[in-house]
């Protein structure tokens, strides 16, 4: 089984990097996160400058002239994590839309599913390689927060928590995109669904005024954003990890179900 899985993963990697989309997404994501991270850093420095200028007589922010809420964590890390999350939401469906839909459109799913492979193996390899690509995206953009963590003596746990949070969040979004791709042979349809579903799941605040408090609480718990924010603050909560892993598992199960259901067409 390991041999088959390794071969399948190699095939998926080859197909992923045979298309220019992977390189474009990688470049755009790393560039966008760099620009926005730098922007938050500049804003933070300007803020410090303003506070320090006004309290120049008393010395720098170490002397208490800068409010404690103005710090690198709140002004750079947290808003950057929000931006990074949004960028993941924008770029990942471009990667996931192809994965199952292209196979179905080209008819190569027939080749795979008649060669003794279990549908769960096919889906697992596709999900695993896409998650590895998410990790690669995050590694590419990790340089920016890493430099700040080192320079600002913030503590490596903040960087680790941020990256882990992004990884869980990215894999959950990718998994939903892959599930969408598995139900269609059209990459356009897969992309539209891959955008629509995570965007709907992102935040249910728009619904909270129209439903009862109980339902609103459930919706808050179901929203992607409500489980993502704490990672940027360096807090890894088990419930958030379980939530994202649950979404990723659901996406994989839906992909397997779609492959099985396609037999009964």
């Amino acid at each position: 089984m390991m041999l088959r899985m390794r071969a399948l993963c190699r095939k998926e990697l080859r197909q992923l990097f045979a298309s220019p989309i992977a390189y474009v997404v990688l470049t755009v994501y790393v560039a966008l996160t760099g620009i926005y991270f730098f922007q938050h850093l500049v804003s933070y420095n300007q803020l410090l400058f303003v506070y320090q200028s006004e309290g120049m007589t008393g010395g720098g922010f170490d002397q208490g002239t800068v409010p404690t809420r103005i710090n690198v964590l709140n002004e750079v890390f947290v808003p950057s994590a929000d931006d990074f999350g949004l960028f993941l939401l924008v770029v990942l469906p471009l990667v996931t839309m192809r994965v199952f839909a292209e196979e179905r459109a080209n008819g190569t799913d027939e080749l795979l599913l008649t060669s003794g492979l279990r549908p769960w193996e096919v889906a697992f390899a596709k999900h695993a390689v896409t998650y590895a690509f998410v990790a690669l995206l995050l590694l590419g953009s990790a340089i920016y927060p890493a430099v700040v963590v080192l320079r600002a003596s913030l503590g490596m746990e903040h960087l680790a928590a941020l990256l882990l949070g992004q990884l869980f969040y990215g894999c959950a979004i990718a998994s939903l995109g892959l599930a969408c791709s598995s139900f269609t042979s059209s990459q356009i349809v897969a992309a539209v669904l891959g955008y629509a579903i995570p965007f709907v799941l992102l935040d249910f605040a728009w619904l909270s005024n129209t439903v009862s408090e109980g339902v609103a609480a459930v919706l808050r718990e179901a929203a992607l954003l409500s489980h993502y924010g704490s990672f940027a603050r360096g807090v890894i909560e088990l419930r958030n990890v379980v939530y994202f892993e649950g979404v990723a598992l659901l996406g994989w199960l839906l992909s397997v179900a779609s492959l099985e259901l396609s037999r009964a067409r």
């Binding site: 041999l3 088959r4 190699r10 080209n106 190569t108 027939e110 080749l111 060669s115 003794g116 037999r263």
Partner: protein
Amino acid sequence: MSAKIEAQRVSKRFGSLVALDALSLEIAAGEVFGIIGPNGAGKTTFLRILTGYWLASDGDVRVDGLSVTRQRFQVQARLGYACEQPKLYADHRVDAFLRLMGELRGLSGARLRAAVAVASERLGLEEVMHRRIGVLSKGFRQRVALAQAILHEPALLVVDEPTVGLDPAQQIELRRIIAGFRGQHTVILCTHQLHEAELLCDRVALLDRGRLAAIATADEIRAGGSLEALFLAKVGTHSGFAP
């Protein structure tokens, strides 16, 4: 090594459309069995059910006693399938693709290298082994499809429309290759080319509108004149041919 196949009242419905209607067939081990019929007769549908790609609405197919419905992975381990209009990974080189398919079939190391070498030799692929599949001619792509189907030396080889769209020289060459499979596998050959079925097959089944319209041995076909005569007699009027 060859397999016996029994199709037992196999039906496939797509909504109100009946693609296969209680089809029953028996194919002996080692036989080269042809399936012919007009477009929409249910030939490819039957092959897709036999290979476990589709689920039958009713009935079952057994390969050496193993049910495709309940034991499809064991059945798939015994068969090689070259589907219609070869569906291959165009971005792979031929050697990489064959290695991939061999690994997916559980081959590794020396066994994998030997299987790829044997398949490429049998199919005459040596000169294109380092080329990308996407740039190959249709004839070579069809050969690659056949090569991946025989890598694991399956008991049953299922070949769907192998010569469609090929020039006459490629058709002749591919028929020679398929004839070479005799004695090594049970072969199910689905084709539109009546003379191809006549040349290669021990028996031929004629499907029409999802049903078995006729089944004849090579001798019976010769005694009746030709497969074309049988085809026209059974389905000529509604397939657009006038006998």
